[in-house]
């Protein structure tokens, strides 16, 4: 399987920096990826004073409706982040088949999760108004809390 880019990276020369191209490495699970800030173990270079921070995304049982909604949103953040990181990888490794396969899988997961979230709670994107609740008569773009204010208006399950 082709995992390398086409870049014919030149030999090192004077007065010019070189950074080796990243090689594909087996990605983290989605919770570890967002916690670590990268999908790729080979790019996870931790800081000594950040080692003690607990993972806020480890599986906690969702006991209330509000916790269930929060968990659903975190699932979308996990998939979304993996897509964000993989986007940059594919920008510089456009021919990497491992990356392309994973991206297609993640994009489908994201599409389904956004529709499901719109159906159960509120739409995160305008498109998910029609994919999640095609039968709804009202326009739901103003529903749900504003992203920076999770303690604000809290809409529970429809």
């Amino acid at each position: 399987m082709k995992t390398q880019t086409n870049c014919q990276c030149s030999a090192e020369t004077l007065a010019m920096a070189s950074v080796p191209m990243q090689e594909w490495c087996e990605p983290y699970d989605l919770a570890t990826a967002i916690y670590s800030g990268t999908l790729f173990p080979c790019l996870n270079m931790n800081f000594f004073d950040a080692e003690d921070i607990p993972c806020p995304f480890c599986n906690k049982p969702a006991l209330t409706k509000a916790a269930e909604q929060e968990k659903a949103l975190i699932e979308i953040c996990k998939v979304g982040f993996a897509i964000n990181d993989l986007t940059l990888y594919l920008d510089t490794h456009p021919d990497c088949q491992n990356g392309i396969n994973l991206m297609k899988d993640l994009l489908q997961q994201r599409l389904d999760a956004l529709a499901e979230f719109a159906k159960k709670y509120y739409p995160l994107t305008q498109l998910s108004i029609v994919t999640g609740t095609p039968e709804a008569k009202d326009y739901e773009w103003d529903e749900g809390p504003l992203p920076w204010d999770p303690f604000g208006e809290c809409i529970l399950a429809k």
């Binding site: 996870n44 950040a50 949103l73 964000n84 456009p94 749900g144 920076w148």
Partner: protein
């Protein structure tokens, strides 16, 4: 164009008011190595990049930096949302409070307003990519400085995330540098400016 998605890239949920922490973190909104500066730098530089894929990368990283700016603003907002007049007197936050109450305004930790003088768009692929590599390193330093002095785990988790992104972006800009070199004459990378003297570029 951009389309808004109603969530943060990394969730932020802070319960403890702390104006002193807000006053430090606001530097990553409007400070010299902040996220506003980062996004404007990459989104400005991309137009004239000679390698299409590098223009694409600058767009995607510049877009991610806007997400980071929103995370930083959410942290500052939540740290000061329930501020009392007594807490507003906190050393370091008092001067900000007088000018902006608890509104968000891009400035450095030391109060210097945001300015485009903090970044460069040089119209030269090497000069710009080296600036981008340095920018990621400088932002990493700021996040490490913040992590050393901030104790609240609700604030530390997003800071850890943002620091890690600087390292990934550094790697991608390094790869962009390699992709740019690939289009040039290996015997003398400085024979012409790839963004301006386009007639010399390899097809």
């Amino acid at each position: 164009m951009w389309a808004y998605e109603k969530r943060l890239q990394y969730p932020v949920k802070i319960t403890k008011t702390c104006p002193k922490t807000a006053q430090l973190i606001i530097s990553q909104y409007g400070g010299p190595d902040g996220e506003l500066s980062a996004s404007m730098r990459y989104l400005a530089q991309r137009y004239s990049m000679p390698v299409k894929k590098v223009g694409g990368l600058l767009t995607d990283i510049g877009t991610e930096e806007i997400n980071h700016m929103e995370i930083i603003c959410a942290i500052v907002y939540q740290l000061t949302k329930n501020l009392t007049p007594e807490q507003a007197k906190t050393a370091g936050f008092d001067a900000y409070y007088i000018d902006h109450t608890t509104g968000l305004w891009p400035q450095a930790a030391a109060g210097v307003p945001f300015t485009s003088l903090e970044f460069q768009s040089k119209g030269d692929a090497f000069a710009d990519l080296y600036e981008d590599l340095a920018a990621e390193q400088k932002a990493r330093t700021v996040y490490e400085n913040l992590l050393r002095v901030i104790d609240d785990p609700d604030v530390r988790a997003p800071l850890k995330f943002l620091r890690a992104r600087e390292i990934v972006h550094f790697q991608r800009f390094g790869e962009a540098l390699e992709m740019t070199k690939d289009k040039l004459d290996h015997s003398n990378y400085y024979f012409f400016n790839a963004e301006f003297d386009k007639k010399f570029l390899k097809k």
